[in-house]
């Protein structure tokens, strides 16, 4: 049987100090988006964000413990079995754990559209390897992402980051150029991204927009 306890799921600590529990990826669910979050160094369990870009509706269910949600500027303290449904993608939302055992299950997607696995899932898996200097593994995971999301600007950009750090300068330039072709605004980000220090003087480096 495909069963796992939330505490047995892989723990991927993200940059702003919360722990992503990759539920969808663990089961290879393709029909809908779902993930869980537990507190890490900062106690955060839902990052501060909107869903404007992807136009997702999202639901956050407190599976355990107590959590303080901030939604559209309002604070709500919720316990086990309580949930927040954010139907308006433009609303800013986030949450921090009030107890160490807190866990939140998120379900989301774009109404009226078949679910597509988001590029960030692959990137989140790769980031800990990137931060730890395991460039080969980060690169492998991002190539896996590129197979699933061909031409995705964000994936190409992060692949370029890894390759630049790994000393694969030509590959980094190629992927960064492709990323900028897909999403021109990434050229601006690249100008100050420390990952590109080793290739920024290359004449092929994309110019600022």
């Amino acid at each position: 049987m495909n069963i796992v306890h939330i505490d047995e799921l892989e723990e991927i600590e993200l940059g702003d100090g919360f722990v992503w529990r990759p539920v969808r990826r663990h089961f290879d669910i393709l029909a809908f988006g779902t993930n869980a979050y537990t507190p890490g160094a900062t106690g955060r369990v839902v990052e501060e964000h909107t869903e404007r870009r992807f136009e997702h509706q999202e639901m956050y269910l407190v599976l355990r413990g107590r959590v303080l949600f901030t939604v559209d500027g309002d604070e709500h303290e919720l316990g086990t079995g309580q949930l927040v449904f954010v139907r308006d993608p433009s609303i800013r939302r986030g949450a921090v754990a009030l107890t160490d055992d807190a866990a939140v299950l998120a379900v989301g997607g774009k109404p009226g559209a078949a679910h597509e696995v988001s590029a960030w899932e692959y990137e989140f898996v790769a980031f800990p390897h990137l931060r730890a200097g395991r460039y080969d593994e980060a690169e492998r995971l991002l190539y896996e992402a590129l197979d699933a999301k061909p031409g995705n600007g964000s994936v190409l950009y992060n692949l370029a980051c890894v390759e630049a750090l790994a000393g694969k300068h030509d590959a980094a330039i190629d992927h960064l150029s492709a990323a900028v072709d897909a999403e021109p605004q990434l050229a601006e980000l690249a100008q100050t991204d420390e990952d590109f220090v080793s290739i920024r003087d290359d004449p092929r480096f994309p110019a600022a927009p």
């Binding site: 495909n2 069963i3 809908f32 639901m59 079995g81 308006d88 299950l105 379900v107 109404p111």
Partner: protein, 213 residues
Amino acid sequence: MSEGYTILSLDEVEHVPHRGSNLIPVRHTLGFEPAGVNAWIADTGGQLIPPHEEDSGNEELYAVVRGRATFAVGEESADAPAGSLVYVPPEVHRTATAEEDGTIVFAVGGTVGKPFNAGGWDSFAVADAYRQSGRLDEGRAIMEQLIAAKPGYWAVHYNAGCYEALGGDKDAAFVHLRHARELDSEGHAAPYFLEDVDLDPLRDDPRFQEFLA
């Protein structure tokens, strides 16, 4: 609180009986659109998830929110304390039973490669619970809302037909079922016409024969 979001406690939603279980109709209550989301509650020994299989392509995830459950999936059985997540692929038989009072299981479902399209079985369950408790107008209002929201979707007319069949208004039931059949160009309803017990009150009526052709 703005209209752009809703806070909900599973304990505050009115439960309705459905196929031997107690449904907490989350999707019906909230209008969540990306996936099917509902919850089930039972005391010790009670059935949480009605025994069933999902159609081809339908994936489901179950999360034990409170208490403890025993899941039976295919030929396997497993203990699932709070915090457990159970994934069941399509066409696999599944059910779950509560091992503690007040056990709640949250369920998420959808179809691979297709937008989620709520057929409204959960809304139908709420409407039918209202019908059985004598709240006929409230139940019918739910069915009318479903039709108004998706007038071209065969399943909402089909479910409205079931509602009227169970309520004893055969004429109204046949009107809805004819609409359902007209809209069901791919024949999805055919097996339901053959087997759905909700339509049993109509099966002796000569008009039902047209749905079996």
